[in-house]
Structure formats: C-alpha cells, structure tokens
C-alpha cells in the first residue's frame, strides 16, 4: 500500500506545527506502509522561496519528492487582498485569487499527482488553507484524506473552503474543538473522521539537574517554550508577567523563555531568554520548572503542552484559545485565564499550592498516556486508512 503525504514544506530544519505533524506521522506510518512525502522546495513559509533542491531525497527512511514553487509569494499583494477579503464583501473569484497569492503555488506538484494518481492508494493532505491542499482535495476527492490543522482564524470562514471539508474521504482532526469548529463552518458532519492528534516522544536522555547546572539556574521559574511571537500571545504574556512581578517585589520567581524571538524581549530581571535549545535541554528545562505557560490565543493542538504533561508538569494556558482550554478541561492538567485578573489569580493559586500543581501534572500525564502515545496514534491512523484502501481496491477490482 502506497500513501502520499502532501505538505507545503518538509525537512528536519523546518519548524511549524503541521509540518512537524506531517514528518512525525509519515515516519511512524512508514513502518506499515510505503510512504512518500510530496512537497515543495520551499523552506520559508512567508516567501515560499525555493531553497531545497528539486528531486528526491530520503529523510529518516521516508522518500521525499520536492517540486519547484512557480512563483514566490508577493507579500504586498497578499496583504492587500487579505485586507479586502477579510473586511469587505467579495466574490468566490476574489477568494481563489487570495488562495493563489497565499501559495505555495506549485503546479508541478499537482501535475505529478494527476500523472501518477494510479501509483498511490491514498493522498493525505496537510493544512486546509494552502493552495496545494485546496486544489489537491478538489481534484482527487475520491482518494484524499485531509488533516486540516485548523484554528479559529479568519480564513476558515471563507466560502471556498466549505467543499474542501466536505469532499475528502476522511478528515483527521487534532482536537475536539477543531472538529466542532469545522463542523459548524462547513456542516460536514457526514464525512468520516477521527480525532487523532500527534504522539509525544521524549528524548532518551534529559536531566533537569544537568540543565540547571549547565545554564546556571538556581531559582524557581515558570517556563515558556516556543517561538516568541506576538501572534503566540507573547506580548500579552510579557505585560502580564511584568505587572505580576511588579505587584510582588519579594517574589522569588522568574520566567524562562526557550525559543527564537521575532519580537523584542523586555529587559526585566525576572525574565530570562535562553534562545533555541536542543531537545535534551528543552525537556530538562520543562521538567525542572514549576509549570509551563502557554499564552497563545490560536492553537490547533500545542505539542509543547502535551510534552509538559508527558513530563507530569501542570500548565497555565490562555483560556481564549478554545483548544487549550478544552485540553485543560478534558485532562484536568492545568488552569486557564482569559484576562489579567484571572491570570494573577491562577498564578497565585498555582504558586501557593505546590500539591495541586503536582496533582494537575499527574492528571495531565494520565491524559497523554491515554490519548497521545505513538502506539495509540498509529493504531488510530491504521483503523482509518486500511478499511478505506481495502474498499477502494475492492471497488477497483469489481469495476
């Protein structure tokens, strides 16, 4: 059985939630099926500039075929059309133009799919909002699965995407909230689906004491892991923490940030930025922290939250993000805030009750063990893929 995963970018150095999801799932499923990844030569999701070499390569035992992007994104034109599309009444043609400018525009990849359709039993498309996924699902609905990785963002309300959620043979959601959102937007309740998400892996070696020693950290801290970006709620997090620290001058606590920053980090003695760290250090840092903070208002899964729970650490998340709030409610593994007052109250509650955060961490761990180990994830994928492929081949034989 040969399966093609179609994703906008792919590579060991490509960061991004859905790209990571694609890489992990394709590597894990390659144990069972002949898996290929069809992607572009782009590394940067802003420009889609071709940076990887066109052609084939093997990454962690998975065959990757890369295709050129015919035109880079015209960022000015894209910003212009986005302003129009999301603010004024517009036509379907306008939305399709927006999609084309969004990219990655790679007709070569679509042509390859059309010419080699028979070679594959199934196409799995990642991320609904890109040009490739839209045209791929619309052109080959009879053998497509879609992993939308959707968030409550303006583009999901565009009309062109409603058929994209209704046409594929199955949809694989990351969370209950994502499913509810897409059901509400597109009324696609009838499409077969499952809520699967992604498994969590721990590195073989990680040591919280080693991390403290290596980075000379001898104080209590709350940790943030991820890109330091205003779109991830980081600016609000800084505002809140500075206010919180200012109101408690004797508090012995710091905020440690791990990840690359695209905004300036405020100079404050209680805020420490360690930059990008390898996995061993990252997991050691999470394990040694009091708890993890996840301030993002838009998340479709939040792997780092699952990782914190896997390490039995409690989390404090932005309650305005339905997915994060829902994960906390289902797991009983963390608290959530929707404004400064709730943030302050949650922080005080968690810092003053060591026993409670330990128990929340344990509950989070039980939730991850029950839902997000790779054995469970692989099993769920196989239960969805195998009956579909079996039915397709039966139909092909009969016809």
């Amino acid at each position: 059985m040969r399966i093609a995963f179609i994703v906008q970018r792919y590579g060991l150095d490509v960061t991004g939630g859905s790209e990571l999801l694609c890489r992990c799932v394709s590597e894990h499923l390659s144990k069972y099926y002949d898996v290929e990844v069809l992607t572009t030569c782009a590394r940067d999701y802003v420009t889609w500039r071709d940076e990887y070499k066109e052609g084939e390569e093997k990454i962690n035992n998975v065959l990757v075929r890369r295709f050129k992007v015919a035109k880079e994104r015209d960022t000015k034109a894209f910003a212009r059309i986005s302003r129009r599309i999301f603010r004024l009444f517009h036509t379907k043609r306008g939305e399709l133009k927006w999609l084309e400018l969004q990219g990655p525009y790679s007709p070569d990849l679509l042509n390859y799919l059309a010419e080699n359709e028979e070679r594959y039993d199934l196409f799995i498309f990642f991320t609904y909002r890109y040009w490739l996924s839209y045209h791929g699902v619309m052109s080959f609905p009879h053998k497509s699965f879609l992993i939308p990785t959707a968030e409550d963002e303006p583009s999901i309300y565009l009309k062109i995407f409603r058929p994209v959620f209704n046409k594929p043979k199955a949809i694989i959601y990351c969370t209950v909230e994502e499913k509810e959102l897409i059901n509400q937007v597109s009324a696609n309740h009838a499409v077969p689906n499952d809520i699967i998400g992604m498994g969590v892996d721990l590195p073989e070696k990680y040591d919280p004491q080693e991390f403290r020693k290596k980075h000379n950290i001898h104080y209590d801290y709350v940790i943030y892991v991820g890109r330091i970006d205003p779109n991830k709620g980081c600016q609000e997090m800084f505002d809140y923490f500075i206010k919180f620290f200012t109101q408690r001058p004797s508090l012995q606590l710091k905020l440690i940030l791990i990840g690359n920053n695209i905004i300036q980090i405020p100079v404050h003695e209680n805020i420490v930025h360690l930059g990008y760290l390898p996995d061993e250090d990252k997991f050691g840092a999470i394990k040694a922290s009091r708890f993890l903070i996840m301030p993002s208002p838009y998340e479709s899964l939040s792997i780092v939250t699952l990782e914190a729970w896997f390490l039995s650490k409690a989390v404090l998340v932005n309650g305005r993000c339905k997915v994060l709030k829902g994960q906390c409610q289902r797991s009983n593994g963390g608290l959530y805030y929707r404004n400064y007052e709730e943030f302050e109250a949650c922080m005080d509650h968690m810092l003053d009750n060591g026993g409670i955060i330990e128990q929340l961490g344990r509950q989070g761990n039980a939730y991850v063990e029950a839902n997000y180990t790779w054995e469970i994830i692989e099993d769920k994928y196989r239960k969805l893929i195998e009956p579909f492929v079996a039915q397709s081949s039966l139909r092909a034989r009969n016809s």
Partner: protein, 401 residues
Amino acid sequence: MENIQNDNLIDVEKIMNQIREDVCRKKELGIYTGADIRVSNLSMRIPVGTNELSNQILFLQRHYDFRMDYNIASHRPLLGRLIVAGKRIFLPILAKALNPFFDNQVRFNQQLVNTMALIAERLHQQEGELMSLRLQQEGSAAPVSTRQCVSQGDRTGQMPGIVEAFNKTEADNWYFFFEHFFREKSDKLKEHQRIYLPYFRGADTVLDIGCGKGEFLELLKEEGINAIGIDTNSKMVEYSMMRSLMAIETDAMSYLCSIEDNSLCGIFMSQVIEHMTPEYLMSLLKLCYFKLRPGCCIVLETVNPLCLSTFARTFYRDLTHIKPVHPETIQTLLNYLGFKYETTLFLSPIPDEERLQGVLPDKGFKGAALTEQLNSNFHKLNSLLFSYQDFAIIARKSEGN
C-alpha cells in the same frame, strides 16, 4: 478522546469557578483598578477582519500620556530597601524636573490621537456608504424581472397588476442597508450590549438568535465564550463570517430543533422578538426552554412599548416589525413556560433635553401649587412618552429541570 476522571481527581473547573468568584469579589471590593482591568485588553493580536483601526486608536488613547508615573519597588531581597529609599528621593525630583517639558508633547499627542479618531469615524461612515452603494448596485441588477413585468403591463395598456415581491437576496440586501443607517454603529452597540455579559460569564456555548452583524458574538468571543449566531439574513451572516465570527444562515426554529436538549449555556435575542408573530414567539420560547441547560440564562431585548414615543421613533420605521411585546406579557409567558424570571432592565433612556422640561417656581410665586401640578403632569407625560426606548427580560431555566 478519553477524559481523565477518578475519585482523587482535582477538578479544574471547580478551581476555575473558585478563581472566577475570587476575581468577582475583588472587583466588587474595588481591589482591581481600571488600569488593572484594562491591561487585559492590551497587546492582543487583533485578528484581521475585526475593527483593527479603532482598537489601535483605543491603544493610542490609553498611552498618549507618557509623563513619569513611577512605581517605587524593587525585586532585590537585601538591597531592596536601599533602592526603594533612593527611588523615593530621586524619582519625584526627576518627575518634577522633566514633566513640564513633556506637557507640550502630551498635549500634541492628545490632539493627534483625537484627530485620528475623527478620521477613523469618517472612514467608518464612508465604508458604510460604500457598502450600501454596493448593495444597491447588486439589488438594482436583480429586479430586472420586476421592471420587465411593469413595462409589459404598460405596453398592453393594462395595469401592471402583480409586481414580483422582493426575492430573498433583495430583501436581505435591503435590511442590511436599512440596519446600517438606522441601528446603532457596531462599536456603540457593543458597548450597549456589554451589560449582558455577566449573565453569560463562564458559559460554554451561547446562541445568539438574530445575531445581525455579530456585535454580541464578538463580545462573547473576546470573553473566551464559545458563541454561535444564527440569522435568516444571508448578508448579515456573510458579514459576521468575514469578521471571523461563527454565524449560520438559518431559521431559529430549525436550528433549535437540530440540536440536543440541554445543550446551550445561554440564549440571547436582541431586537428580535418584535419581528415574530405571537404563535411563533411562543413556540420558539418553548423550544428555547428545552434546549437551555438548567440554571442558564435567556436574555430577550426588545423595543419598550411602555414608552409611546418609541413607536414614532423606531418601531414603525422598521418594515419587518410585526408586534411590540409588553414586558409583563413576556415575563408571564416565560414563567408559564417554566423559566425563573430574574429581572427586567430598562435601557436606552431618551436624553433629558428631549423630555418635557419642568417649571422652576420663582421665589414667593403664588401659583406654587399650580407649578407643582404642572410638573407632576410633565413627569407623568415623560414616563409615558419619553422614558426608556428598550427593555430586556432576563430569566433562567430552573435548576431542577
């Protein structure tokens, strides 16, 4: 998806309820100042599609005054007292010396921000007019058949006879156009509707029936409450969706029939029930009762028929209004259906300058009794004619059901 539950469980929702109660108590005690509460709205990413410009201006309005407002504190455990003492001496001197130089700049900033706010308001008006023109253009293309029908009638020398009714698109366009001109602007409406938020705080899913342009959906979304709006007007739904709000084009009865009983944590209807026939309203409220979770709120806002001038001002302006609803009638109906009546809010008072003005008696004036009588009559007429333009009834589904 497996949820984690066992006997020794710490229930996150219980902790969050406790936290929310603490926050409310602190707010009532005045522990949070305006600045504390405002910070929660700062630095958020403003999603494309919402009123980004007005948010930016709001931000500037909050920050145009950068004069030194110092906070004397230190994080250092040992040196802290020394640092605090130093700051106490040094900072007031510095502020006294520097603030006069900043005054002019602050005045300039204030003027600039006000000018920008004015430009934004004008822009908003222009956008509205542009949108209306577009809608008119769309509408003028559609009724060709109507014009043909009339002209054919003319040619045959007969009366035009039956003219085709507005089709759905035309009617939707017209109502969108009408609301744009005659209903409060979105920002003001949002402020007006903020009063209803406490009834839905902590709710999971709130249904806004007749959501219009989605102002209340936006408020709920900002509060982190899952909100779904329904409206039969396709243009309104499209407009809400463009603002990343969950809106569905459907009729209230059909939607409510399609969802499970006890599945909603709140129902909101603003300026909707006066568009319904009595039979439809009664059936709808009955259905609302079944779909609402026990203990959850229904809020019904409508035109206040106790204020007679509203008929001249607003009620009859809208062609789609069917019947005003008396507050006592709706209260009785809700009680009859099993809701527990909570309160009636009278809203949107008619401005004082538009009410009948009382007479002030001169000192030693002999006709004091007459003045008093006159003022008492003015008061009665004001209550009857110029009181509150709207009212809202709030009720809950009883806990026991």
